[in-house]
């Protein structure tokens, strides 16, 4: 096969880029070893706000942001807005409502805040449960992402890929703790954003002659038609029978609820919040959130351009093309089962149209058709569409679809791994911290010296990596579904409780705990019902108020607030020490670095 020579080169380059980036991460880890719990938990509280902004951006942008988001937007069009605004707007809430106060609070972990503000072990315990539930669901997806990148680019199987990824995270998370993770994430951000922008710029130039993708999206297509990219996409899609790209198909209320749930979920995610514990001052926490979002926005404003370009490119290279002349990338992704073709009208050409080509994922017979495509056993549906395409391949396949050089493809591999590893490390850290610090030391009240606590933190990080790796190799069938869980739970449980803790001095532990449990349980049941128990009825007419499981965290959060205020009235106000604590965190001056020996 002709493509094999170029593919060999690309694989070698991928090994080179991935190897170099891994060597860099491990080098940084050795250079930034943590020697106390203070350094392990919050990097000694001395990270520069811009460095912390970069680290937060890498921490935040996961394999899903890097690999899947542009592809999802490519196929959702306007509806993809829920992710673009939902995963950025939360930083405004974080910067204005939470980060400065939590930095002033000046302890190590998110459950620390619950323990002090809601005076007691029960609030801390509820927070630990939420945190572990949220973080583990999230981290499994990251390890899976690592495996997928390894298998697609380096030709090793998913399990080996996950194990290599685990080993690398193990070195720098266990050695360096938050300090090692922070500086590795800075490097990972640079790798990731470079890897994302380079192909985006190339493709933008190819389609519009404009090197800036954000502007290229609104520019004229250079095929002589004189139409802008979005107009051409709208016209092409409508011509093929799809809805217009720039108009959504979801109900407005659902778009609203999903966007809100993702925003407040973002602001409530422990691994994001804890990053703001690492800067020296309250004013740094505010500006650092701005830097973080600026670095995130660089990728998030590029993603919709990549999405639109790739959809246009995909249609142009695939639709009405005779299969025998189709580009090699199509066949390569067919080989891994993420693309499939059924020639319904037996004309030997590929027709792309709305609807599914057949039910479910492709089941290959092992035989080739006359044209040389992989035959599937799935009975064809009655739509005209002949192509099955997995949305996740758009970012990975994009450089190939646009026929970019092999080193760009290799760069994307290194970038995707940086995205997955940086998020995994951040999550593993909050998991290990909540076990050694919140569970062992503060809840079970083990007598631990700083050295012992540090050892337990490392042990917990190591264990968490192994569990996450296991989940990455043997993913529970619902990995893709659990993202809704993570955000819904964070939105419905942690965010409202922290917010009330800062802004309402009268809120007591009875109210806060009731609110958290109400939001948590309601959201859990709603998502579980529609995703797992009765997935057939997961349609708009069965949803409450027309809100999908992805958006139900918004309702859960409202329920949390409502329940908390209703219950708080019947119980005594918090003790004076708590009132003083709230007074103290509202004033920026007098910030303390987290003590080495709390």
């Amino acid at each position: 096969m002709a493509w094999q020579t170029t593919e060999m080169d690309t694989t070698t380059l991928s090994y080179l880029f991935v190897g170099l980036s891994f060597a860099l991460y491990i080098g940084i880890a050795i250079w930034t070893r943590a020697s106390s719990t203070n350094e392990f938990y919050v990097a000694g509280g001395g990270v520069h706000p811009i460095a912390n902004g970069m680290a937060t951006a890498a921490d935040w942008m996961s394999a899903a942001s890097f690999l899947s988001m542009a592809g999802i937007i490519a196929f959702m069009g306007y509806d993809g807005t829920v992710y673009l605004m939902g995963w950025t707007g939360g930083y405004v809430l974080l910067a204005l409502l939470l980060a400065p106060y939590l930095r002033k609070f000046g302890e190590f972990t998110v459950p620390d805040f619950f323990g002090s503000r809601y005076y007691g072990k029960s609030a801390r315990a509820v927070a630990v449960v939420c945190l572990i539930l949220i973080s583990f669901t999230y981290v499994a997806g990251q390890m899976r992402g690592v495996g997928i990148v390894f298998s697609n680019f380096l030709g090793v199987d998913i399990s080996t890929g996950v194990i290599v990824g685990m080993a690398v995270v193990f070195v720098y998370a266990v050695l360096g703790g938050m300090k090692g993770i922070t500086y590795t994430q800075v490097a990972q951000y640079v790798v990731m954003i470079f890897a994302y922008l380079v192909p985006a710029v190339f493709i933008s130039i190819l389609i519009t002659d404009n090197p800036i993708p954000q502007l290229g999206l609104g520019d004229t297509v250079n095929d002589g038609s004189g139409e802008s990219v979005l107009d051409k996409l709208d016209n092409t899609l409508v011509g093929l029978g799809f809805d217009a790209y720039t108009e959504g198909t979801k109900d407005t209320i659902d778009i609203f609820a999903i966007t809100m749930a993702l925003m407040i979920g973002t602001a409530g995610l422990p691994h994001v919040i804890v990053r703001f514990f690492t800067v020296p001052k309250v004013s740094d926490a505010r500006s650092s959130a701005g830097w973080a979002l600026l670095f995130i926005a660089l990728l998030y404003t590029t993603a919709p351009a990549v999405g639109a370009f790739s959809r246009l490119n995909f249609i142009n290279t695939v639709h009405d093309q005779p299969y025998v002349y189709i580009d090699d990338w199509f066949k390569r992704w067919e080989d891994v089962g993420l693309i499939a073709w059924v020639d319904k009208n037996a004309d030997g050409a590929v027709q792309y149209a709305p609807g599914i080509p057949f039910a479910g994922k492709p089941e290959f017979t092992g035989q080739l058709t006359e044209e040389g495509s992989r035959a599937v056993t799935n009975p064809p549906s009655d739509t005209r569409n002949e192509v099955y395409v997995d949305r996740d391949i758009m970012v990975l396949a994009n450089p190939e679809i646009a026929a970019l050089p092999g080193w760009v493809v290799a760069l994307v591999a290194a970038g995707a791994l940086a995205a997955a590893l940086s998020t995994a490390a951040g999550l593993l850290l909050v998991i290990s911290t909540s076990i050694s610090h919140d569970l062992l030391k503060k809840t079970l009240q083990w007598e631990l010296t700083d050295k012992q606590e540090l050892r337990y933190a490392r042990l917990a990080a190591g264990t968490a990596i192994v569990v996450a790796g296991y989940l990455g190799i043997n993913p529970p069938g619902f990995v893709a579904e659990v993202v809704a869980f993570a955000f819904g739970l964070a939105a419905a449980s942690l965010f409202p409780a922290i917010l009330m803790g800062i802004f309402d001095q009268r809120m007591n532990r009875e109210g806060a705990i009731t609110g958290m449990l109400a939001g948590l349980i309601f959201t859990l049941i709603y998502i579980t019902w529609f995703k797992f128990i009765d997935p057939v009825s997961n349609t708009a007419e069965h949803w409450w108020f027309g809100i999908s499981p992805e958006g139900i965290g918004t309702v859960g959060a409202l329920l949390n607030f409502g329940a908390a205020y209703a219950v708080a009235r019947f119980f005594p106000a918090p003790p004076d020490s708590v009132r003083q604590l709230v007074e103290r965190i509202r004033i920026p001056s007098g910030v303390e670095r987290p003590h080495d020996h709390p």
Binding site: L84, V92, R286, A297
Partner: protein
Amino acid sequence: MNKSAYWRANLRLMAVLLSIWFVVSFGFGILLVEPLNTIRLGGFKLGFWIAQQGAIYLFVILIFVYAARMRRIDHQHGVADD
């Protein structure tokens, strides 16, 4: 140092910025996207541009404005941390 005056100034600034945050993202980007789409911004429909580009730029600006204004308010009330 007057703690409650400081806190009120903070809340006022927050209320203004969060209103802008809400009106632009949820108002213009979601609820009013269709009428705004009748207005063109170069090759973009305005509503679509706000939803997929403009709102994100605005979020960044809002945070930096908050950080800068709060620094001033901190100093005015003698509670700055630097």
